[in-house]
C-alpha cells in the first residue's frame, strides 16, 4: 500500500529588501494508495512549489515529505513528474524519450523498447514511435510525457498543470485518457490545476489552496461516480459547491 504523507511543510524565500516571503505555510495532507488528488488554486498560491518539493526538485525550509514509507531527500525513481511546459527531449525519438528512464538504469535496448512499446500502446501513439517531438502536436507531446513518467513504474505521479497549454477539446480528450491510464495503472496521482472543471472531472479529492501564503483551505471529496459526465446536473452541482467554497472561504484575504 503506497502512501504519500506531507507533514507541516513550509517554504519561504528571502526577498531583495531583506524581508522573507512565505510561499507555503504549514501544509499537511496525505494521499492514499491509488487516490487521484487535485490541488486547486489560483496562480501564485505556491502549488507548483509544493509539487516540486514532493518531487524532490526543491527542498522545504521545514517539514517532511514521506513517500511510500521513506522520507524524501531529493529526486526519487518512485516519483514520476509531468511538467507544465514541453519537457520531452527534442533530440530523441518518441520511443527513446519514453525509454530514457530505463536507459539510465542500464536496461539493454531490446528490453527497454519492449517496455516503452507497452506504454506507447497505452497512450495510443504506437505509430509515432520513431517520430521526433517536433513532429507531434501539443497534446501528443504531453501524452508521451505521461508515458515517459510511467515507465519506471513510480508509485506516485505528479502532474503540474500538464494540460494547461492545450486547447479545450484536446484537453478534455487528454483528461479522459489520463483517467483511463490511471484506471489501468492505479498510481497515486497528485494533479495541479487552476480549473475547477478539470478538478471535479478528474479527482477523488480536491485540495483547495489559498494564495499568499499558500495554505490548505479545504479538502473536498468528489463522490460522483465514474465515468463522470461534465454535462450532467450532478456535475454542475458539485462544480457550484466547489466554486462557492472558493468564493466564500478560500479567496485572497
Amino acid at each position: 500500500m503506497a502512501k504519500l504523507e506531507v507533514h507541516d511543510v513550509s517554504q519561504s524565500f528571502p526577498r531583495d529588501d531583506g524581508s522573507i516571503l512565505t510561499v507555503l505555510d504549514h501544509i499537511s495532507f496525505d494521499v492514499k494508495d491509488k487516490e487521484f488528488v487535485c490541488i486547486l488554486g489560483s496562480s501564485g498560491c505556491g502549488k507548483t512549489t509544493l509539487l516540486r518539493m514532493i518531487a524532490g526538485l526543491d527542498t522545504a525550509v521545514s517539514g517532511k515529505i514521506i513517500i511510500d514509507g521513506e522520507e524524501s531527500t531529493g529526486t526519487n525513481p518512485k516519483v514520476g513528474f509531468v511538467f507544465q511546459e514541453y519537457s520531452l527531449f527534442p533530440w530523441r525519438t518518441v520511443i527513446d524519450n519514453i525509454a530514457f528512464g530505463l536507459e539510465m538504469r542500464g536496461v539493454c535496448q531490446e528490453d527497454r523498447y519492449m517496455v516503452a512499446e507497452w506504454y506507447l500502446d497505452l497512450i495510443n501513439l504506437t505509430q509515432f514511435k520513431g517520430s521526433y517531438p517536433s513532429e507531434l502536436s501539443g497534446g501528443m507531446r504531453q501524452r508521451v510525457a505521461v508515458a515517459r513518467a510511467l515507465t519506471l513504474d513510480p508509485v506516485l505521479l505528479l502532474m503540474d498543470e500538464p494540460f494547461g497549454a492545450l486547447d479545450a477539446q484536446t484537453r478534455n480528450m487528454l483528461q479522459k485518457e489520463l483517467l483511463q491510464i490511471w484506471e489501468k495503472t492505479k498510481k497515486m496521482i497528485v494533479f495541479i490545476t487552476h480549473s475547477v472543471d478539470e478538478a471535479v472531472y478528474m479527482a477523488d479529492r480536491i485540495i483547495v489552496m489559498t494564495p499568499r501564503p499558500g495554505r490548505i483551505c479545504r479538502n473536498f471529496e468528489v463522490l460522483l461516480p465514474r465515468p463522470r459526465d461534465r454535462t450532467s446536473v450532478e456535475f454542475a452541482q458539485v462544480r457550484r459547491e466547489v466554486l462557492d467554497l472558493i468564493n466564500q472561504n478560500c479567496s485572497i484575504q
Binding site: 526538485l57 514520476g80 527534442p90 525519438t93 517536433s134 519506471l152
Partner: protein, 262 residues
C-alpha cells in the same frame, strides 16, 4: 514557386547565369580594357595556368599540406575548445574564473601570434596549425559555452526525475545533445575562420608546399594567373567544407531539428 526552385525557394539557374556573366565581363575587362595579365589575368589565362599546374602535379601536394595544417589547427581547437566551453557553461564559478582571460585573449588577431608560433614550434606544420588553432578555438569555446548555458532547466529536471542524477550523465545525455546545435554552429564558424587564417599561417615558410605558401610563391614570380588559381582553390575548398559540414550536421546530428520552429 516554380518547379525550378530549389528547396529554399531560390532558382539555381539565375545564380549560374550570374557566374557566367561575371566570367564574361571579367574576360572582357582583362583582354580589352586592362590588357596586362600581370594586373588582371583573364579567365582563359587562369584556366590554362590551372591545367599546367595540374600537369606538374604539385598542386595536390599543396592541397595535402594545407589540409594537414588545417586539421592540426581545427583538431586542437576542438580538443581544447569544447571541454573549456562545457565546463564554463556548466559551472558559473569556472565561468567567472576563465571568462575574463578568454575575453582578453580573444581580440588578439590570430596572425599576431605568428612570432611566438615560430619561436615555440619552429618552422613546422605545427606552427601553421597553431595559428589556425588560435583563429578557430574562440568561436568553438564561445558557442559551446553559450549552448551549455542555454540548456533549458526543464530538460535537466525531467532527466533528474528519470534517474539521470550523476553530473557526467547529465552532461552526456542532456546538456550535450541540447547544446549541440550551438556547438555545431561554433564549429562551422571556426572552420571558416581557421581556413581564412591558413594563407597567412603558411606565409612565413613553414613548408615548401601549401595553398597559401604557393599563392605567395607565384606572386613573387609575378605569375598572377597561378595566383588566381590558388585563390579560387582556397575559396572552393572553404565552400566545400561548409557544405559538407552543413549537410552532415543537418542530415545526421540534428535531424530532430527539421520542422522545429527555432
Amino acid at each position: 514557386m516554380s518547379r525550378r526552385a530549389g528547396k529554399n525557394g531560390k532558382d539555381w539557374r539565375l545564380g549560374a547565369v550570374a557566374i557566367l556573366l561575371a566570367l564574361v565581363i571579367w574576360q572582357f575587362v582583362a583582354v580589352v580594357i586592362v590588357k596586362y595579365p600581370f594586373i588582371l589575368p583573364a579567365p582563359t589565362d587562369v584556366f590554362s595556368a590551372f591545367i599546367s599546374l595540374l600537369q606538374k602535379g604539385e598542386i595536390f601536394l599543396d592541397l595535402e599540406t594545407s589540409l594537414i595544417h588545417f586539421f592540426i589547427g581545427l583538431g586542437l581547437a576542438l580538443l581544447v575548445g569544447i571541454p573549456i566551453g562545457i565546463v564554463m557553461g556548466w559551472s558559473g564559478r569556472i565561468e567567472s574564473l576563465i571568462d575574463p582571460l578568454i575575453e582578453l585573449l580573444r581580440p588578439i588577431p590570430p596572425l599576431a601570434w605568428i612570432p611566438f608560433a615560430i619561436i615555440w614550434f619552429g618552422l613546422t606544420s605545427f606552427s601553421a596549425g597553431f595559428i589556425i588553432f588560435v583563429g578557430a578555438v574562440f568561436p568553438i569555446i564561445i558557442n559551446t559555452y553559450s549552448g551549455f548555458r542555454g540548456v533549458p532547466r526543464v530538460f535537466v529536471e525531467a532527466g533528474k526525475m528519470l534517474g539521470c542524477t550523476k553530473i557526467w550523465d547529465q552532461v552526456r545525455y542532456i546538456a550535450f545533445p541540447a547544446a549541440l546545435p550551438s556547438v555545431a554552429s561554433g564549429i562551422r564558424i571556426a572552420t571558416g575562420v581557421g581556413w581564412m587564417c591558413l594563407v597567412a599561417a603558411e606565409l612565413f615558410g613553414v613548408s615548401n608546399y601549401g595553398l597559401g605558401q604557393k599563392l605567395w610563391f607565384f606572386y613573387s614570380l609575378h605569375q598572377m594567373d597561378s595566383v588566381v588559381v590558388y585563390m579560387i582553390l582556397l575559396g572552393l575548398i572553404g565552400l566545400a567544407f561548409d557544405m559538407i559540414f552543413r549537410y552532415y550536421v543537418d542530415k545526421h546530428l540534428l535531424k530532430w531539428r527539421t520542422g522545429e520552429v527555432a
